[in-house]
Amino acid sequence: MTAALRFDPIRLPEKCQQLRKEVRAFLAEEIAAGTFSPFKVNREDTDVPAFSRKVGERGWIGMTWPKKYGGHERSFLERYVVTEEMRVANAPTRRFFVADRQSGPVLLKYAPEHVKEDILPRICKGELCFAIGMSEPNSGSDLFAAKTRATKTDGGYLVNGTKIWTSSAHIADYMIAIFRTSPPTKENRRHGLTQFLVKMKQPGIQVNPIGQITGQFEFNEVVFTDYFVPDDHVLGEVDGAWKQATSELAYERSGPERFLETYYVLTELVRAVGDKPDTRAAEGIGRLVAQVHTMRRMSVSVAGMLQAGKEPVVEASIVKDIGTVWEQQLPHRVRDLAAFVEEEASNRETLEKQLSFAIKTAPKLTIQGGTTEVLRGIIARGLGLR
């Protein structure tokens, strides 16, 4: 077989289902206390630092990391359960999720010991928010076209340039960014970029909010002017970021957040059609449930492979490709199916508000964190076409 894709039927062990109960009980308490509303899906004004700290206290940030850095040495499958329950409840996870998913693992692998000891425990406590500095005004999917320079100086580097579309930069404490430390070589255009840990809220960094079509101001332009990064904030090999960037992507690409972003509209559709749906609504719901079930099985399978120490790069890219296209189409399918919902359906107003937000959110889902086109390129390479 050329492809030999594997999606073994992984089941969540019993301890995961116990953990799930704990997470649900915690979220129910927080909803009852008014920390957030599961029906209010525009989470712009629900950045709740206190919520992050409570999640940290529960031990649900950095779950898979070593205990010596504040982690909990639990499995990817346990982390999976926490992530999906938070996502389905529309909990305000933005403040800690990027660090938990991506930035923490990068630091674990590449940061100097004293930096790890300083920062990782604070991530685990829910005290730190991270942003990712990849895109630039003239460098999006083409990561290796990045021009923001980090020039060597005494004890560190001086950074000049602009990152853009940087989610959460306005609230972030740190950013993990790639800067150009050398020009690309003729043989390797990916050469010359270095990954850095950047402390935000410092002189030399200006964060300018950018309005989005949803009405949110969730991403930003970040301008660096002679911003100083110390030598010990270099992550990994100088000029060699391209070797580092790809290996963690399986973690980023295949989680439940890659198909559950608009899931709430399906729940509300089921509520709106009531317990005796007509044939059209029943078939539509049945297909959507079959599809989301299948994606979850694929996603859990990838989590299981990660737990087993494998690197399912192609499988993870497939999950993100199918998952993001699905969550993008979902609000439109739900809108179709809701067209004949009775006027007096109790949740009509909630459903309409959610649909309106989800439909406006939809276009970004196949762009953020690697576009559909980039993902299909990776899959094509995995198939031996490149």
């Binding site: 299948t294 094509a380 031996g384």
Partner: protein
């Protein structure tokens, strides 16, 4: 379970590779490949994989049998292997021994119902019964006043109106006109027609997933050979992205089907919402993948894939026709939608996340 490490699945793979090469079958206009293939499968005990040795079978596990069927799908096997396995499994539910030779099951659609009359005969019509024409015996599920029964019927005692699937395999209407079965016994408690349809649906899901794996494989290979505009077509981004989508459909089908098979292999009962979700979601998603994925495989191949000489149709048409057996994706989507609605909105996520 790792397929490559299992002796039962390895045996099946070897027989398929030796005696069911798609190219050779495609060239054989007289169907001379069928008898040796069936004989080899029978000698290896594969058609009665799911029948315990005491009832005449080889006593393989459900998981092993499912593995064999995935392999059968990868080779687009067109002898009644899946049907005989399913028939043997159905008979075994009522502790009825399996006879030798080809079998099939009736009904093969959730919409058809067969009746067990008070005098012990069976009446009714079952449409779309796969390979009925080739079967020596039919394993029947019939409903009587005392509940559900399972029966073994000699194929010579029923009327068979022959029909063909999209792939030109037999799919026949079987008419039971007060037919006396060779043996009939009550089904175990809780076992009903839905259970048979779910099992049949998972069998078809595995076959569809297997055929998609092969369609991906031969499409990738073809794109790396075919030259157009002075380069291999695999170098065109549009073709690459189509193949990436085919990989996604193939992966989704494989994940859904193997998860459902694993669920049935370990389930205590069919009467469980999570088991129902696994089984019908597999049938729905695999059927959708058959359409989307098969369409891409044909698009990549261009005109050559539309010819009778090329092997692609052996996979693409079979995958499409397997959608119809044991309840189509539309049928199951309605049933699943109704069940989800009856449970209520707040019970949807707990169902999805239950395993």
């Amino acid at each position: 379970m790792s397929e490559s490490e299992n002796i039962v699945i390895e045996t099946a793979e070897k027989i398929f590779a030796d005696l069911a090469d798609a190219q050779e079958i495609n060239r054989d206009k007289k169907g001379e490949w069928k008898a040796p293939l069936w004989q080899a499968l029978s000698e290896a005990g594969l058609p009665l994989s799911w029948v315990a040795e005491e009832f005449g079978g080889s006593g393989a596990t459900l998981a092993e049998g499912f593995g064999v069927l995935g392999a059968a799908g990868r080779h687009a096997i067109a002898v009644p292997l899946a049907e005989t396995m399913l028939a043997g499994w159905l008979l075994a539910q009522a502790k009825i021994s399996s006879p030798e030779g080809e079998m099939t099951v009736a009904p093969a659609s959730p919409k058809d119902r067969l009746a067990l009359n008070a005098d012990g005969t069976i009446s009714g019509r079952a449409r779309g019964v796969p390979f009925a024409k080739a079967a020596r015996h039919i394993a029947v599920l019939a409903n009587g006043t005392n509940g559900v029964s399972i029966a073994l019927v000699d194929a010579r005692s029923v009327r068979i109106d022959a029909g063909l699937t999209l792939a030109n395999d037999n799919s026949d209407t079987v008419i039971f006109d007060k037919v006396m079965p060779s043996v009939a016994k009550p089904a175990p408690k809780g076992f009903d027609q839905t259970a048979l349809m779910l099992m049949g649906g998972v069998v078809r899901s595995l076959q569809i997933a297997g055929s998609l794996e092969s369609m991906l494989d031969i499409s990738v290979r073809y794109s790396n050979e075919r030259v157009a505009f002075e380069k291999k077509i695999s170098k065109f981004q549009a073709v690459q992205h189509n193949l990436a989508r085919l990989a996604g459909e193939s992966a989704a089908a494989l994940a859904a089907a193997t998860s459902a098979a694993d669920t049935l292999a370990n389930a205590k009962s069919f009467d469980d919402d999570a088991v129902f979700l696994e089984a019908v979601a597999a049938k729905i998603r695999c059927s959708e993948a058959a359409e989307k994925g098969g369409g891409i495989a044909h698009q990549v191949h261009g005109a050559i894939g539309f010819t009778i000489e090329h092997i692609l149709h052996r996979f693409s048409l079979r995958a499409l026709s397997w959608r119809d057996d044991f309840g189509s994706e539309s049928y199951w989507a309605v049933e699943l939608g109704k069940r989800v609605a009856a449970r209520g909105a707040d019970e949807l996520w707990p169902l999805v996340a239950s395993r």
